[in-house]
Every structure is written in structure tokens, then in C-alpha cells.
């Protein structure tokens, strides 16, 4: 008999302060990563304070650790936030479906992330970068409310080093600092100005609902992306992650098991319950 609710303990290898209120935590189990696929998520907990659901933000190909990014807000995340390097985090997973890379191979890729929604995008994006030759042109568009709200600031340059890869970082108007050299503008607006074509391309979009809504519109209507080639992830409230607790239903879909990764086409068939 196996207790599906029983977590494993993972050690905190590194804590990266991303913004004033978000962090990325790198974990290891027995010195390495676990088997997961980009887009999947796990239940992370500071034991005693409860579990919290986060998507993985690292590439599974980077075997020395696995990571997630989070903002401290509730009881569980505040607990996690208080931990130090070397402390243990309880972890269950990986759960859910994943970005199907077989359908992305050989195509041009567009990664669009907004705010902390960049975390799952980063996972698949770095996965693709790690196997750079399998894909066509890669465009990365990442935006946040302000310069201070941008995650992963230290590694933008790393992304840029890959061949045939364009990295565009933008902040919402008013969120720029005097020394800001990136773009200023909302993500969907900046996206629209990019010379992208839907044909033979896959777009991966994740961020706040309003950003997703407009980004999908731009991709579909202005750039001609096919709905089945636009992929996003849903962030419903979850508890078990195992399709039991009844919380994450959207229509007939259990987001924790049938998702969290959906194509725009799949989303279209779901009722507005997320």
C-alpha cells in the first residue's frame, strides 16, 4: 500500500531572491533532480504549515537540481519563505500533464511570460534551449509590472547567448527605472509588434489572466497562430494534485490531472470556471 499523500524531503540547495517578494528555491533529492517534464507541478510544503502548489521552473535536463519560484502570501508560502539553505522542504509530485515537445520539434517557438507566470515558461523554454538544435527560431518575450518585479534578471543574458534566439524584456509603462534599457509596454502590445508568423510555430503563454487573454487574441488574430499551437497553463486552486479533492474542476476537466497545460483550442471548449 502506498500513501499517495506522503511527501519526500528535499534539501534546499540554493535560494535565489528574485524580487522583493519572490524567490526561486533550488532543491535536490540525493544530490540530484527528480524525473519530471516541463509544465508539471508539485506540492511543496514547509511541514507544519501546509502544502502549496507550484509548477517547476527549471529544465528537467539540468540534472543537479529542480526548482520552483514563488511569492510569499499565504500560510504555506510564508513557511517556505522562512527556510534557509540546507533546510528541508517536503515535496510531492510531479503531477499533471506537460508541454508536448514532440509537437514543437522543428518549429519556431515563441515563449511569452508575464510576472510570476514566467516560472513554468522558463522550464519549457530552458528545456528547449538545452536541446537548441531541435527547434527553429526562438523568441522569448517576458514582461512584468516594473523592473523590480522581473524574475530571473541575472540569467537573461544566458538566454541570449543561444543561437537564433531573441530575448525581449519589457515592463509596463511607468514601471521603468532611469537606467532601464529594455522595452516599455504591456506584454500583448509588445508581442503584437514582433515580426512573428503563426505558420510552423508554437507559442507558449503564461501569466496573469488578463495578459493571457490579450496575448492569445494577438497571436490568433494578428499573427495567425492556430489555436492548437498556442499553449498555456491554468492555475486553479488545488489541494491534492491527484484528482481526488474536487477543487480544480473546470467543466469535465480535472486541472491537476488533465492539465495544467492546455492548448488555446482545448481552453475554448471549457466553461468559464477558472
Amino acid at each position: 500500500m502506498e500513501n499517495i499523500y506522503l511527501p519526500k524531503l528535499a534539501e534546499i540547495k540554493e535560494i535565489i531572491q528574485e524580487t522583493a517578494d519572490t524567490k526561486t528555491i533550488r532543491l535536490t533529492i540525493d544530490g540530484g533532480s527528480i524525473d519530471f517534464l516541463p509544465g508539471q507541478f508539485g506540492e511543496f510544503s514547509f511541514i507544519g504549515e501546509g502544502e502549496s502548489t507550484f509548477g517547476f521552473s527549471s529544465s528537467p535536463l539540468r540534472k543537479e537540481y529542480f526548482e520552483f519560484s514563488f511569492r510569499s502570501s499565504g500560510r504555506a508560502t510564508t513557511g517556505i519563505n522562512s527556510l534557509n539553505q540546507g533546510d528541508k522542504i517536503a515535496f510531492r509530485g510531479p503531477y499533471g500533464n506537460y508541454f508536448d515537445t514532440s509537437k514543437m520539434k522543428g518549429k519556431d517557438l515563441v515563449f511569452v511570460g508575464g510576472g510570476i507566470g514566467m516560472a513554468p515558461v522558463k522550464s519549457i523554454m530552458e528545456y528547449c534551449l538545452d536541446e537548441r538544435d531541435d527547434y527553429g527560431k526562438i523568441t522569448i518575450l517576458y514582461g512584468a509590472r516594473s523592473v523590480g518585479d522581473l524574475l530571473y534578471k541575472g540569467i537573461f543574458d544566458e538566454w541570449k547567448k543561444y543561437k537564433n534566439t531573441e530575448v525581449i524584456i519589457t515592463v509596463d509603462p511607468g514601471g521603468e527605472t532611469p537606467d532601464w534599457t529594455g522595452k516599455v509596454g504591456f506584454v500583448p502590445t509588445v508581442l503584437e509588434q514582433l515580426p512573428l508568423k503563426g505558420e510552423n510555430s508554437v507559442a507558449i503563454v503564461c501569466g496573469p489572466p488578463i495578459m493571457i487573454k490579450f496575448a492569445l487574441k494577438s497571436l490568433e488574430e494578428k499573427m495567425g497562430f492556430d489555436k492548437s499551437n498556442i499553449i498555456t497553463t491554468l492555475e486553479n486552486r488545488m489541494k491534492c494534485g491527484l484528482g481526488k479533492c474536487g477543487r480544480c474542476n473546470v467543466g469535465s476537466v480535472y486541472v491537476c490531472k488533465d492539465g495544467p497545460v492546455f492548448t488555446a483550442k482545448e481552453l475554448e471548449s471549457l466553461p468559464n470556471d477558472f
Binding site: 501546509g50 499565504g74 500560510r75 510564508t78
Partner: protein, 301 residues
């Protein structure tokens, strides 16, 4: 079933209120899923006023709906209330949850409502043994505040004195701490933490209940002896001096915990200690919003 005179009066008032635009919603009672049940009904069109009805099966305290955001949206609301329920309206006004200007109170003179458990078995006659305990001690057969009053067609309840309302309170008071503890442990053991008592209470209007606050988690989430006791304690505490005695918590409780034994006891003691009864005066200051230098001090060393 034919309209009674009461029903006709009620329908007329609601119709006028809606037609004149004085209110955009009337909350009242309509015939329910069987003859011994009434259910809340929400009338927004004058032509639907005919659905309204009132009889001794109108057990619900409709004031509970005044806390619902979906209902609040209607702005000016007319509400059908019995005397006990109306006290809840007053308490809500006292606690700034609704404004007197936005509510039209259609008061029903009420000589008692029949226990639902008996009604479900077919009881239809108002009698001392058929009504709720609250009806036996009722001092507000006519609501203390109303814009319209409809007199009752039901005969006044004849009290023989054989049925002693809330007699459990005295019994409990005479028990030792351990006996009381054993009594309540058994009762709370039944609790399933469905929070129906809270949802059915017109005065539990917090948008986030304290049990839903998890930083910190003052009330254990478990539905075992500890979490159940804490929940029942905090619910009773938050209603001490506020409960108006409509008994909806107890009626809603699916496992029959005698919650009114707690509520009534606290109401009694708050009255004895501070001379305050809830819901009687919209201008009165709630008992825990004020103090007196000469308050009960005996228990403090």
C-alpha cells in the same frame, strides 16, 4: 392551496412596493416542497407577488439573506419578517451591515412556528408542544420595528406551562464541570464542521470567517473533538450578546447539536451581567462596543 387573508395582504404590500419602485426586491416565503414546508422566495416583479405566503411553517429567518452579496446588489429591499427575525434586521442595522433607509420591513404578527422535524411528520397545528422553544419565550410576537404590519390569523398559543423552554440550560448549570464537559464532548463529537450553523445565522456576516483565517490558524481545522469544540466555542462567543435567538443555527445543524442551549444561556447571562438584549433597538450600542466602569468584576482577582 387557497390564499389566506394574510397572504392577500402580504401580496398587496409587496406588489405596491415593487410597483412604486420603493424596493427592487421582496424577500418572503412561498409554498415549499411539501405542504408543511415553506421556502424563501425572491420577488422582483410585481406580477410575481402572488407567490408570497405566510403560515406557521415559515420557519426560516429571511434576514440571513441580507448578508448575501448577491442580494445586497438589489439595493432597496423589502423583507417579510417574524418578530424574532426582525431583531436580526435591527442588529444588522446596529452593526452597520444594512441601512434602515434601504429596507422595508413587512412585519408579521406571529404566534409561533412549528418545529420542522414535526412538520415533516405531518404536524400542522400550532400547539405548545409543536412550536420551537423560542416561540414559548417570545416577547416579540409583533416585531419591534416595521414599516407594515400584518396581524396574525392564527389563534394565540395557549401555554399550559407543561413545556419548559430551554430547560436544558438549568440542567446544565447545575452540573459539575466534568459533567458539563462530558455532555458537550458528546454533542460536539457529532459536529461535522459543515458550518451550516454559521451560514444560517443572520449575524454571522463576516466575509472571511475566523476559521478560514489561517495565519494564524486559531481554530483547528480538524473535525474531531478538539477542532469541533473550538469551532463551537468561537461561534458561540462571537454571538454572545449578539444572538437574537432565531434558532436557525440549530435548525440547520444536520447532526442536531442543541446550539440554542448555548446561545440562550449566553443571551441570558449577558443580560444579567450587562442588562443588554440584542436586536431590540437600532440606536442602542452593541454590548461589546461599550463598557461601564462598574461592570461585573467579581471574577478578577
Amino acid at each position: 392551496m387557497a390564499n389566506t387573508k394574510t397572504d392577500e395582504k402580504l401580496q398587496k404590500i409587496a406588489k405596491d412596493l415593487l410597483e412604486s419602485g420603493e424596493v427592487s426586491l421582496v424577500i418572503g416565503y412561498a409554498k415549499g416542497s411539501n405542504l408543511q414546508r415553506m421556502r424563501p422566495v425572491f420577488i422582483t416583479k410585481a406580477e410575481d407577488a402572488g407567490k408570497l405566503s405566510f403560515n406557521p411553517h415559515a420557519v426560516q429567518d429571511l434576514a440571513v439573506f441580507l448578508k448575501k452579496p448577491e442580494v445586497k446588489k438589489f439595493g432597496k429591499i423589502g423583507i417579510v419578517v417574524k418578530g424574532c427575525d426582525e431583531k436580526a434586521v435591527n442588529a444588522l442595522i446596529q452593526e452597520y451591515q444594512i441601512s434602515r433607509d434601504n429596507i422595508k420591513i413587512i412585519g408579521m404578527e406571529c404566534n409561533g412556528v412549528i418545529r420542522q422535524s414535526l412538520a415533516d411528520k405531518g404536524e400542522t397545528n400550532l400547539s405548545e408542544s409543536a412550536v420551537y422553544d423560542k416561540c414559548l419565550i417570545c416577547e416579540e410576537h409583533i416585531p419591534v420595528l416595521y414599516d407594515f404590519l400584518i396581524e396574525s390569523e392564527e389563534p394565540k398559543l395557549v401555554l399550559s406551562g407543561n413545556v419548559k423552554p430551554y430547560s436544558g440550560i438549568e440542567k446544565l448549570e447545575s452540573m459539575s464541570a466534568e459533567e458539563k464537559n462530558a455532555f458537550w464532548a458528546k454533542e460536539f463529537d457529532k459536529c461535522i464542521k459543515c458550518y451550516a450553523c454559521r451560514q444560517a445565522c443572520p449575524l454571522c456576516y463576516c466575509s472571511r470567517c475566523i476559521v478560514e483565517k489561517n495565519m494564524p490558524q486559531w481554530i483547528d481545522t480538524n473535525s474531531e473533538e478538539t477542532g469541533n469544540a473550538q469551532w463551537n466555542l468561537i461561534r458561540a462567543y462571537h454571538l454572545s450578546g449578539r444572538c437574537i435567538g432565531c434558532g436557525e443555527c440549530e435548525r440547520a445543524c444536520p447532526v442536531n447539536i442543541p446550539l440554542m442551549l448555548i446561545n440562550e444561556k449566553m443571551a441570558k447571562d449577558v443580560y444579567n451581567m450587562f442588562g443588554y438584549k440584542s436586536g431590540l433597538d437600532i440606536n442602542a450600542k452593541p454590548v461589546f462596543g461599550v463598557f461601564s466602569e462598574s461592570d461585573f468584576n467579581d471574577f478578577i482577582k
